[in-house]
Amino acid sequence: MIRRLVRFVDQRSGGAPLLRKTLRYLFPDHWSFLLGEVALYAFVVLVATGTYLALFYDASPSKVVYHGPYAPLQGQEMTHAYRSVLDLSTTVKAGLLIRQTHHWAADVFLAAIVLHMLRIFFTGAYRKPRELTYWIGLSILGLALLEGYLGYSLVDDLLSGMGLAIGYGVLVSVPFVGANLAALIWDGPFPGKHDFFSRMYIAHVFLLPALIAVLLSVHLALVALKHHTQFRSQPRQTERKIVGVPTFPGQTPRSLGLFLSVAGVLFLLGGLAQINPIWLWGPYHTYVSTNGAQPDWYLGWLIGALRLVPGWDFTIGHYTVVPNPFWGGAAFPLVCFGFAFSWPLLERRFTGDYGYHNVLDRPRDAPGRTAIGVAVFTWISLVFLAGASDRAQVLLDLSYIGQIWFYRVIVWVGPIVAGLIAYRVCIELQRGEQVERERKRAEAAARGAA
């Protein structure tokens, strides 16, 4: 049966050599190599659940008065968009499960991408010949952030409306062209006209996912063409020789198992762990907002940055050159992404290392890179924490203004300290290994002498 199938495919496509190569493609064994796979599987869950949600969603901001089963919102004016998600969550069987799973999957997708990126960074996996793979991965991260943001903006509950208002505020703050771009996208000033929701919708369910899918395919194709990197955990693993488990039979059940585990955990979360209970937030109006509002975790760094920037607009005469939200909402992420994109080039410039690298560094092997990476990561993390300062005020009774001033200082001091500590730790680890090696050599020599 299988013989006949293989033969059929080969005769019609000439695919047997490719199939053989695919089956015997090698996966070096290390847990951290699975992070990217987790992201991939979360994306699959997102596409599947998202397609289901799209069958119920109504991308219309026209108003309707709610007369549905959820009593607390009876008689309230809301958009058809919000109403359709409310109905999906309250009256459609399994609707809430799929919606919550979709939301969890988005959070896990981004978390997995970020962890994967950290692994790639701290092991130097982005080095030649894999810069393209790395840059495409970063582009996917950027698109995924936007995709997630649009996803929860479509719901048009109070929190998503506030998020959109802030997004609008950031976009109009772009120097020289911001307001024009916003006028184009919203069809005039916020909250825009009817078409805006259709635009968000097509972007969320088609443009961005299609773009992510294409980039993802190229990303994976490049990984396969140049083969995986590997740690040097055995002496036979060299720059020229890869050692790993073949796709089939070794890797297939592992990867499938991981896929089903990711999907299983996401559905468990979707069923058991409430996320974004939109019926509690109520419908959005431009003149309503709520205290303690937080975005999904992956936008926390931007909220933090928006909060930390001191209050001034940069003006020349009556012309406002840089309105304030630009710094936190646009310049900050641009700097972070700019750093990440240019790092392979910068490192190459500084170290003069233009060579090919198939064998990974451990973080300690490149103390400079590790220190800079830790510093930048600390910087972003502290800004992220600053985004939660309103929550800290409520939960821990810390003065909000005091916290902001604390963060305004610590976000600059913290990274330097963390970077120096990381550097020191790397050096000490290296020395420890050196001592260990010398001890072993001496012992061997002593044994030889005896």
Partner: protein, 334 residues
């Protein structure tokens, strides 16, 4: 069949002495060399995998049952539990398969070549040789680039239909005019004697679209002695009642917090606060920024109480409303 020679016997003996593994089964004619090495059977692991597959099957069936039977309470939770567990059981079966049942071979392979210089040369040569008939290559290239660029521009042009990309007038629009009444969410006019201290009210321009950023107001009453309006805002209040745009000048959220000192003067002065990034504005002095990221004061609306005590606008805001953009300081609101 070949007969065994003394050398073969020697090798066999050495293997028997040094390796205690089973001898690899001798290949019969027509039999192939195994691609995946053979392994020991592991009946217990196999049984475990089968058991896990069975559990996964049961949970998947349970999902369908929970879906179908409406009497089951907490449907979402049980749906998630059954589907999630089903997936996890099958995942566990696969992981048992991967770890215990499939022969795990760690094999070596060469990394692909760093580059293919010959192929690169061929590609280059093909490109170079392709234009042998062209006499004005640069002009030709220019022509191609020009046509390509113009076509691209033509394709992009309809994007301008999406919105008023150059017309910024609507960014200055507000519905406020002299005499326009301040109404509440249900359209009922506010009277001055309704407005009490230490609380805040949301008001709209009568007959306007409440969602328009220029419509909504936050209205508070301050003790008259506490008012310190700057000269350009003098007379904007209606006997201690002040009205500001409800839209934060930082990022466009609604200003929904009003901080009032319970024990003045030990506590800070009254303040209007946006909950998004805690931009804080002083309602007593024309809406100046006292803390937070906002770069512009809150636009203030001049109001008065008419003969029936109803609050009305005396004119438009002193500044355009909404988050800052490049032209926000260039014109008065219209």
């Amino acid at each position: 069949m070949k007969r065994a020679r003394p050398k073969d016997w020697l090798i066999a003996g050495a293997v028997l002495l040094l390796r205690r593994d089973r001898r690899p089964p001798r290949l019969k004619p027509g039999e192939r060399e195994p691609v995946v090495p053979a392994g020991e059977p592991r009946p217990r692991a196999e049984l475990l995998a089968l058991f896990l597959l069975g559990a996964g099957t049961l949970c998947a069936v349970a999902f369908i049952a929970v879906y179908a039977i409406d009497r089951i309470p907490r449907q979402t939770q049980f749906l998630g539990l059954s589907l999630g567990l089903s997936l996890l059981f099958v995942a566990a079966a696969l992981i048992v398969t991967a770890k215990r049942l499939v022969v795990t071979e760690e094999i070596e392979d060469e990394y692909p070549l760093d580059e293919h210089p010959d192929e690169q040369e061929t590609v280059l040569a093909a490109v170079e040789d392709s234009a042998s008939r062209l006499t004005r290559r640069r002009l030709f290239k220019l022509g191609l680039a020009g046509a390509g660029g113009a076509l691209f521009a033509a394709f992009v042009t309809p994007v301008a239909s999406l919105g008023p990309v150059l017309d910024m007038r609507r960014f200055y629009d507000t519905p406020w005019r002299r005499g326009k009444r301040l109404v509440d969410e249900h359209g009922r006019p506010y009277r001055a004697d309704q407005i009490e201290e230490k609380t805040f009210y949301t008001a709209f321009a009568e007959g306007s679209d409440k969602e328009q950023l220029g419509s909504s107001l936050v209205v508070v009453r301050l003790p008259k002695d506490d008012l310190r309006l700057p000269p350009e805002n003098s007379g904007f209040d209606a006997d201690g009642i002040v009205a500001y745009s409800k839209i934060c000048t930082h990022a466009g959220c609604a200003i929904a917090l009003y901080r009032v000192p319970l024990f003045p003067p030990a506590e800070p002065k009254p303040a209007l606060v946006c909950p998004c990034h805690y931009s804080t504005f002083d309602p007593s002095d024309g809406g100046s920024v006292t803390f937070g990221p906002a770069g512009r004061k809150l636009p203030m609306l001049p109001i008065y109480a008419d003969s029936r005590g109803q609050l009305r606008a005396r004119g438009n805001f002193d500044e355009p409303v909404g988050p800052s953009w490049w032209g926000v300081r260039m014109k008065r609101p219209t």
